[in-house]
Every structure is written in C-alpha cells, then in structure tokens.
C-alpha cells in the first residue's frame, strides 16, 4: 500500500472535478453544487487515508514520495513528497475546501444564468485545490515554482470574476504583486540550478540542499526567494494587496486566499529559504524579525481602525503572519513548531471569520461595522459563533490558536527576547480589534436594519461548526498536530545550523 501514489491522487482528483464541472452537460448543471461537494468530500476522505499511510513516528522525513523525470533537458522532475508540515497543511486545505463549497451554495444567486456562474466558480475552487496540494507537496524546485505561479490564475479569476464592485482593481493588484514577486524568484531559481549539481534532475530540492554557494550569491538568492514569499505571506511593507483583495473577493475566496494560499509564503520561507540558504537566513534574520514585529503591530493597529469587516480580518492576518514569520526566523524548534501549527490554526480561525463575515454580508448587504448594531439580540446563534471564532483569533486559551501563539512567543523569547516582548503587545492589540468590533456590531441598541434578519441556517452551521470543533479539539489536545510538525522543525533547525534553545520553552509548552 505504501507504493500507492497518494499525493498524485490528491492532486489529480480535484483537477478531474474541475474538468467534470466545466464539461457538465447542460441538463446536469443544476447538480453542479452537489458534484463539487462530492469531489471535495472524497478529497477529504483520501487525505485522511493518506495521513493513515504516513509514518507519524518519522514525521521529519519526506514520505509518500514519488519522483519521475519530466524535462531532463532542463533538469526538471515531477517530484512530490511531504513531511509532517506539508501533510497538515494539505489536510487543512482539504478541510476548508468542502466548507467553502458549502458556503458558496447560495452566493452567486439562484437564477439559471447565475447557477452557471456558480458552476464556474466551483470549478475554479477545485482547480485551486489541486494546485494547493501540489505546491505543499512539491519536492522539485522548478515544479514548486511552476505551481506557485499557476495558482495565480484561478485566484485571479475567483477575485476578478466573482467579487465586489472594485473586484477588477483588486484582482489586477493581486496579480501584479504576486507575478512580480514570482518572476524575481524565477531568476533565483535558475541561478540556483546553475550553481547546483545540475544534471537531468538538478532541480530536486534534496539535491539543491546543502550546496555550498558563494556568500554574496547566497544572499542575493535568499533575497529573490524571500521577496516572493513575503509578498505572498503578506508581510509589511508588501502587504497592501491583501486588504483590497479580501474586501472585494467573495468570502469563500478570501478564506482560501488568506487561510491557505498565503501560507505558501511562510511555508516557502520555512521549507525553501531556510534549508537552501542557511547562512543567508542567519544573516537576514535580524531584519526579517524587525519586519515581522512591525507586521504584528502595524497590522493590528490598522485592523483596529477598519470599518469594513473584510478589511479588518485581512489586517489581522497581516498581524498573524508577522507572528508566523517571527517564529520561523527565531530559529528554535519550539518557535518553528509554533509557527507551523500557527499556519494550520490561522487557516481555521481566519477562514471561519471570513465565512461568518460573509454570512453577515449576505444578510445585510454590507459588511461595514456601522451598518450593524445589537446583532446579538437579532441573531443570537450567529453572534455566539462569531464570538468564539473571534476569541480564537485573539488566541484565547482553550482554543488552538492560543497554543501556537504561545509556542511562538516562548520559543522566540529564548533567542530574541526584545522581539518577543514587543510581539506580545500584538496580543493585547488583538483583544482590542476583535472585542471592539464585536461590541460595536453585536451589542448596543438594535439597528433597525438588522432587526428582522434570520439566524444561521442549518447549512451555515455545517460550514462553521466543524471549524469551531476542530479549534476546540486542537486547543485542548494539540499533541497530534504538534507531533507532526515538531520533527520537521527540528530538521530545519539542523539544516540552518543553529543550536536549539530548548530550556524554558519545552517545559512550559506541555
């Protein structure tokens, strides 16, 4: 069973789903939603099976690997494989996609023409999922780059074709930022190959790891990769595309964009920048840490000032990504495990927040905070869900984001105490932006416009319920996820060549 191509199956299945949706005969088009959901659920089940086939005791190694020669003239192979980190991120996306499909159920209206649009939207979601799995599984640098760029296409259409009134502006801004970053990385990819061992499979990441590079060249290569990932993540000061994209995109798109896609940025830093350019990573760490702390505080401060809830959530993500990057570049196994786990939790927490804001928008026709008021009395269940998800975003103990944020801060404190102290202020600011938003929108006198709004439907409960449950379970029993990401973190630490600083961290994390 170990030879079964799990990862290829996980890549191909959503691709088939997208094609099926696209080519659905006109008589069966009404069933597009069910077809899409079925594919997403089968994908989820297969992901579960893949986790079963994965040897958790050896989660630091790359498993389920497949390597086939693809373009030997360029040194390109089709190579996939995951360690614990890649696996949990694939699992996270597999959980989110069915929920996004479910959330889009009524999004594009119910008329005949609109159903056609919904079908196209769902096809794009599945197409994107295929790319997501491929990018987290890629073990060939060229293949990784290829998917990294190809991912832009479905997202561009998901924003530009289905979003709000300024969607085309947002889509183009997103595309240009990402494309510019990606293409600069392409130069780095080519240069790295030319300085690596070369040959018919010279793009394999395993072959490129540990190559001795000229220090100056290594720094430049690091910069070319890091800029691409920082744009994707997004970090201050290249984050400005995110609020626009999140504001204009449908809630489901934002969920995948911020919850999953942006993780490719931090995932890339962790699995490419650090192992490929260890010296340059250590050289750049002080600057990156400063940028991360600025992201944390600046994102949080801007979030406090937002009226549009989508923009607010987007800025909180800038802040959260600051935490993730901080943990990665603090170079302790605790902080890196924390960052890895943070990536998963942030996907659930922010994804749920976007979806809930989407529900509010669908009811009220606006997501401005001042368009609401007293919601708690009008829609009590929705308000309760919103509160729980909001509290997860500010890392309340008992919910899984707390565990990861705590690990990041504790791990960072061991090597970068000043940064850790400053970052802790971000936690306080998080309390302000979440609770103040909740207070304005859900408490106070009931706004006449929201008085008669319906509470959450059964479908909507099914969209958010699983996420809340997952956050609670992982909040109390984080061990299964941590066991997957911790060995990978330790491998990374060894590759970067720093001595781990376990001390306080290990003890108090338990």
């Amino acid at each position: 069973m170990s030879s079964f191509p799990w990862l290829t199956t996980l890549i191909v299945l959503p691709l088939v789903g997208a094609v099926v949706l696209w080519a659905l005969p006109s008589t069966a088009r009404a069933a597009a939603r069910q077809v899409a959901l079925a594919f997403a659920l089968v994908e989820l089940a297969l992901t579960g099976a893949a986790i079963g086939a994965f040897d958790i005791g050896n989660a630091g190694a790359f498993q389920l690997a497949e390597t086939h020669s693809w373009i030997p003239a360029f040194g390109v192979s089709y190579a996939v494989g995951v360690n614990g980190l890649g696996l949990v991120l694939i699992a996270m996306s597999a959980v989110l996609v069915p929920l996004v499909v479910l959330a889009a159920w009524r999004e594009q209206g119910s008329e005949k023409a609109a159903t056609d649009r919904l079908r196209q939207y769902l096809a794009l979601v599945l197409l994107l999922q295929a790319f997501i799995v491929a990018v987290f599984a890629a073990r060939d640098l060229f293949f990784f780059y290829l998917v990294f760029e190809a991912m832009l296409i479905p997202v561009y259409f998901m924003i530009g074709g289905f979003g709000g009134p300024r969607r085309r502006y947002a889509a183009v801004k997103f595309l240009l930022y990402s494309l510019a970053g990606g293409l600069i990385m392409l130069i780095g990819v080519i240069a790295l190959y030319l300085h690596g061992p070369g040959g018919a499979n010279g793009f394999l990441i395993d072959k490129l790891t540990g190559v001795t590079l000229d220090p100056t060249l290594e720094k430049w290569l690091f910069v070319s990769f890091f800029v691409a990932f920082a744009i994707k993540a997004p970090m201050f000061p290249v984050h400005t595309w995110l609020p626009d994209a999140a504001e204009q995109a449908p809630a489901g798109t934002s969920t995948l964009l911020v919850g999953v896609l942006d993780k490719v940025g931090t995932f890339g830093m962790l699995t490419l920048c650090l192992p490929l350019f260890p010296h340059a990573s250590r050289w750049a760490a002080p600057v990156v840490i400063v940028l991360a702390v600025v992201s944390i505080l600046y994102g949080a401060l801007l979030a406090i000032g937002q009226q549009d809830m989508y923009r607010l959530v987007a800025y909180t993500s800038v802040s959260h990504f600051g935490f993730i990057v901080l943990g990665i570049f603090a170079f302790t196994s605790t902080s890196i495990s924390g960052s890895s786990f943070y990536m998963v939790n942030h996907g659930f927490s922010t994804g749920a927040l976007f979806l809930l804001v989407g529900f509010l928008g669908a009811r009220r026709g606006s997501v401005r905070i001042d368009a609401f008021g007293g919601l708690q009395r009008a829609v009590p269940v929705l308000a309760g869900l919103f509160l729980v998800v909001g509290l997860s975003s500010l890392a309340l103990p008992g919910l899984s984001p707390f565990v990861s944020e705590f690990l990041v801060l504790v791990g960072t404190f061991a090597t970068q105490p000043a940064a850790a102290v400053l970052a802790t202020l971000g936690v306080v600011l998080a309390a302000i932006y979440i609770l103040w938003m909740y207070q304005r929108a859900f408490h106070g006198p009931v706004n006449v416009a929201v008085a008669g709004l319906p509470d959450v439907s059964a479908r909507e409960r099914w969209v958010v319920g699983p996420l809340v449950a997952l956050m609670l379970v992982l909040g109390f029993v984080p061990a299964p996820a941590l066991n997957l990401v911790r060995p990978a973190a330790q491998v990374t630490i060894t590759q970067v060549g720093v001595t781990d600083a376990p001390a306080v961290a290990e003890g108090s994390a338990k």
Partner: protein, 556 residues
C-alpha cells in the same frame, strides 16, 4: 577575362527544401499563365500546400545526416546546411504551411482575406466590377512561396551576398502581400507602402554594411570574415560601422527597437493570414540569420557587439510591453506584443552562451505556433453590419467582449495562445521563456533576464485583460443594440479604468455587432495544429528539446 568557368559541384539533396519551395513559386507563375481561370485556385492551393509539406519531409530526411556530420557547406560555401539551419527550415516551412492554410480559408461567408483586384484604386468602379465578377487573386500563393523560399535561404546563407539576396527575395513579395487586404484597402495599401519604404531603407543600410565589411575582410565568405576578425586587437572603424549597419538591417526584419516602427501599422493593415505569415516566419528567418551572424561569423567581436545587443534587447522588451499596454486593437496589440517577444529572443542571443542557440530556436517555435494560431482566430471574429451582412474583422478589443460565453471553444483556444505568449507554465511559451532566460543567466546576462521577467509580468497584464474581456464582460452589441453607440463602458472595467479614453474614437460610429464566422476547414486545421503544438511542447517538451538541442551547433 575568365579563362575557364568550372561549375561548382552542387549537393542538390542538401538544399532540396529550399529548391522545392522556390520551384513551387516558379511553377505557380506558370500556372497563372497557362491554367484556365476556374482551375487556378485549386491548382495553386495544392501546389502551395504540397511544397512546404514536401520541404518539411525533405528536412526530416536530411536530419540524421546533419546531426552526425555536423552539417555541410553547399554551393562553394554560399549555403551552410547545419543544425540551426535545419531547425530554422523546419520551423519556417511548418509555420509557412499553416499560414498558407489560413490564407486559403474563405470562411463560411465565401470570401478570402484578399482583395479581388489588388491593383484597382480603392472604391473605384473597376474594383466593384472585379468584386461582382468574383475575381480571385491566386498570385497570392506563388508570392508566398517566393517569400518562404527567401526566408529559408536567409538563415542558411554562408556569405554576405547570399544573405542579401535572400533578404530581398523574402522581402519583396511581403511588400506586395501586405497591400492585398480585402477590407480597409487604404489602410492595407498604406501598410504596404510604409513597409516597402522602410524596408528598402533598411536594405540599403544592410548593403552598405556588407560593402564595408568586404572592404575590411577582403571577402564576402563568412569563414574568411571570421578568420579576419578573430583577433580583437585590430579594431577598425570600417569593420565596426559595417557590422553596425549589417546588424541594423537584420534587426529591422526582427522588428527590434529602434527599428520597430513599421510593425504595428503593417501588421494591422496587412491581410490577417499574411500578418500571421510575417509575424511568425519572417521573425524565425531573421533571428536565425542574426543568430548565425552573432554566434558564428563574428565570435571575435563579442565584446563589441554585446553592449549593443543589451541596449537593443532592453529597449525592445520595454517599448514593446509598455506600448502594448495601451492598445485597443487586437492586431496592433499582437504587433506590439511581437515586438516585446523580439526583445525576449534577443536576451537569448545576447547571452552569447552555447545554450542560447537552442533556446532561441525553441522560443521561436513556441512563439511562431501561438502567433499563427492567434492571428488565425483574429481573422474569424468579424463585424456584422446593420443590414446583417458580415464585413471586416472586429479589430477593437471592446468588440471581443463576451465571446467566451457565445463561443467557448474559440475563446479557450485563443486563451491558450495568449497564455503561451504570456509565458504561463504548461504552455510552450513558458518553455521558450525559461530556455532564453536560463541561457541569459548562464551567459552572465542576468540583468537582461531580470528585466525580461519584469516585462513578462507587465505583459501578462494585457494578455489577461483580453481573457477577462472574453469571459467576464457582457457583449455590448447583443445586450443593448440600440444604445451600443454610446457604450464605451463595457471595455474599461476589464483593465481597471485607464483605457476608457482611447476607446472613445472607435465607439463613435459603432452600429455593428460581433459575429464569429465558421471556417472552410483549412483555418480550423491550422489553428488546431498550433494549439496542439502549444500544449504538447508545454506539457512534454523533452522530445522537442532533445531534437533541437542535439543539432544546435553552427558549422565553423
């Protein structure tokens, strides 16, 4: 006085591909003279299809011999049949064949793209008479054959004189062909005139350069020139100016900045199949020749050529991309994009690295296939006038709105070509871009590669704009036929705003709707072949890379 003329030994088999194509042109002239009018078109068509196809077969037959021997020098060194020559022949003949298919297609409307009487004054009674009589200008096909033969001889030339003769043989028919469009006759004739004047000027520069180089080296033979310029210490103004003029003539044909100004006007005015022919085949021929001149003929002068190539490559990429951003006519947009592509190819040439040869040839293959296919589709998207008859091509981008909804197959195919132009992974264009950029990085020209990728990012913007227009914008004509004259609103939203102003002039007299006409089959075959090549080379490039990589070496 020449005492005794000894005829050189001619290896006819080695130059068979060129001989076949030029021979078909000569036979085509005889067909015009002797075959009855109603049979002329089928006969010419059969000839024009068979000749490039036979040339492809002939190239295939030569392939293994050249791969093993490295190539032969024919006609006393005037023609060099080596690996790059064969690859260029193959690409030119194949793309030429596809262009002939586009030219042959009369669409379901029953009219081809060419004027019934090219010599008639536009709008005259004579022209109307010719139209009514259903006259067909079958001379188009022999003209294309002559141009094709010249194009094939161009990259194979082994001395400066052959190079010049090939240049003229390929150019003169194109000057004529550019003026033969059925619609917008004045625009077409203007294009022809412009192309002729500028082309003649470039030829003069080229010839002057040849004279100067001959003056320096004492020979027109490439091998002698290489030997004479091998030691870089003997820098002579004669040589430098000669080389500069020679390169200017070559760069004119490739459409590189600052010799690009004819491109948009000529591409727009010429009949679309001829535009496809020019954009694809001429570029391959010109870059093939440029590649030989830079890599094989003047290796001793690399340090002097290099700054020039860098400047031209950067200017070409930047100007082509920036100008394309603001175009509102499909053919003009593709013309500027072809300029930008010339810049990308030049980065591969400026790499001056052994990888550059194969990289440039692969790029040209990918670019050529997408170009022929894209122009083939442009020819099918037409305007329907108020009285219901199908007239000229729907050039304005705004008229392409909503085609993705009404004609998904056509729009998806066009999208494929645009994505290939943009260099998106899994298309042939990406393989080409990757090849030239990695050649540039390998040759130490990484700043060129950097500017190249930034230009690609900007270029992606206008390709994607068309895609958005086709799939996500409502067709204005059908939705609001009455108010269409005052509806520039449908276009700008695709690009986010700034293009609205420039559209206004085109929308003032709009009383037409956009239709897609069916093909007779010829164009459909050509477009399908282009799409398959674009996809297959994008997904499984290994066979093509190996094929080209194995022979990418010039005869010394």
């Amino acid at each position: 006085m020449i005492a005794a003329f000894t005829a050189p030994h001619v290896a006819w088999t080695a130059i068979a591909p060129v001989v076949i194509v030029l021979g078909a042109g000569v036979v085509g002239v005889l067909v015009e003279a002797f075959v009855p009018a109603r049979l002329r078109r089928p006969v010419q068509l059969a000839l024009a299809i068979a000749a490039p196809a036979a040339a492809v077969v002939a190239v295939a037959a030569l392939w293994s011999g050249v791969r093993d021997s490295g190539g032969t020098s024919v006609l006393g060194g005037s023609v060099l049949v080596d690996g790059p020559t064969l690859v260029a022949w193959l690409i030119i003949a194949a793309l030429g064949l596809l262009s002939v298919l586009l030219a042959a297609d009369r669409t379901e409307v029953g009219e081809d793209a060419f004027a019934p009487a090219v010599a008639a004054v536009p709008g005259s009674a004579y022209e109307e008479q010719a139209r009514a009589a259903g006259t067909v200008q079958t001379e188009i096909f022999p003209l294309m054959m002559f141009a094709l033969g010249g194009m094939m001889a161009f990259p194979a030339a082994g001395d400066l004189l052959t190079l010049f003769v090939a240049l003229e043989v390929l150019s003169l028919p194109l000057y004529l062909l550019a003026g033969t469009a059925r619609r917008r006759r004045l625009l077409s004739q203007e294009a022809s005139m412009k192309y002729f004047l500028l082309g003649a000027f470039a030829s003069a520069l080229f010839l002057f350069g040849i004279a100067l180089i001959y003056g320096y080296a004492g020979s027109i033979r490439f091998s002698d020139i290489t030997a004479a310029t091998a030691t870089p210490s003997q820098l002579d103004p004669l040589l430098l100016v000669g080389l500069l003029l020679l390169l200017a003539g070559l760069l004119f044909k490739t459409g590189a900045v600052p010799f690009h100004l004819w491109t948009p006007d000529v591409y727009q005015g010429a009949p679309t199949p001829i535009t496809a022919f020019m954009a694809a085949c001429t570029k391959v021929a010109a870059f093939g020749a440029l590649l030989r001149v830079v890599y094989a003929v003047f290796p001793g002068l690399h340090w002097d050529i290099n700054p020039l190539l860098w400047i031209v490559a950067i200017a070409t990429m930047v100007v082509g991309t920036v100008a394309a951003l603001v175009q509102n006519d499909v053919k003009r947009l593709l013309a500027y994009s072809s300029i930008a592509h010339a810049g990308f190819v030049l980065t591969g040439i400026a790499a001056l690295h052994q990888r550059g040869i194969a990289a440039v040839l692969i790029y040209l293959l990918a670019y050529g296939a997408a170009t022929v296919g894209a122009f083939g589709i442009v020819a099918l998207v037409r305007e329907r006038s108020a009285d219901g008859s199908v007239v000229g091509e729907a050039g304005a981008l705004s008229q392409w709105a909503g085609i993705g909804r009404s004609h998904p197959v056509l729009a998806v195919t066009f999208t494929l070509f645009l994505l290939s132009f943009a260099g998106i992974p899994l298309t042939a264009g990406f393989i080409g871009k990757f090849a030239v950029f990695s050649a540039a990085v390998a040759g130490g020209a990484w700043p060129l590669a950097l500017i190249g990728v930034l230009a690609s990012a900007a270029a992606a913007f206008f390709y994607v704009r068309i895609i958005v227009l086709m799939f996500f914008t409502d067709a204005q004509g059908e939705a609001e036929p009455a108010a269409s004259a005052s509806a520039p609103a449908a276009l700008p939203d695709a690009a986010g705003g700034p293009v609205a102003v420039a559209v206004a002039e085109r929308t003032t007299e709009r009383t037409t709707t956009t239709v897609v006409v069916g093909t007779e089959g010829f164009a459909a075959v050509a477009i399908a072949v282009c799409a398959i090549v674009t996809l297959v080379v994008g997904l499984f490039p290994t066979p093509v890379l190996d094929l080209i990589g194995n022979v990418a070496k010039f005869l010394p």
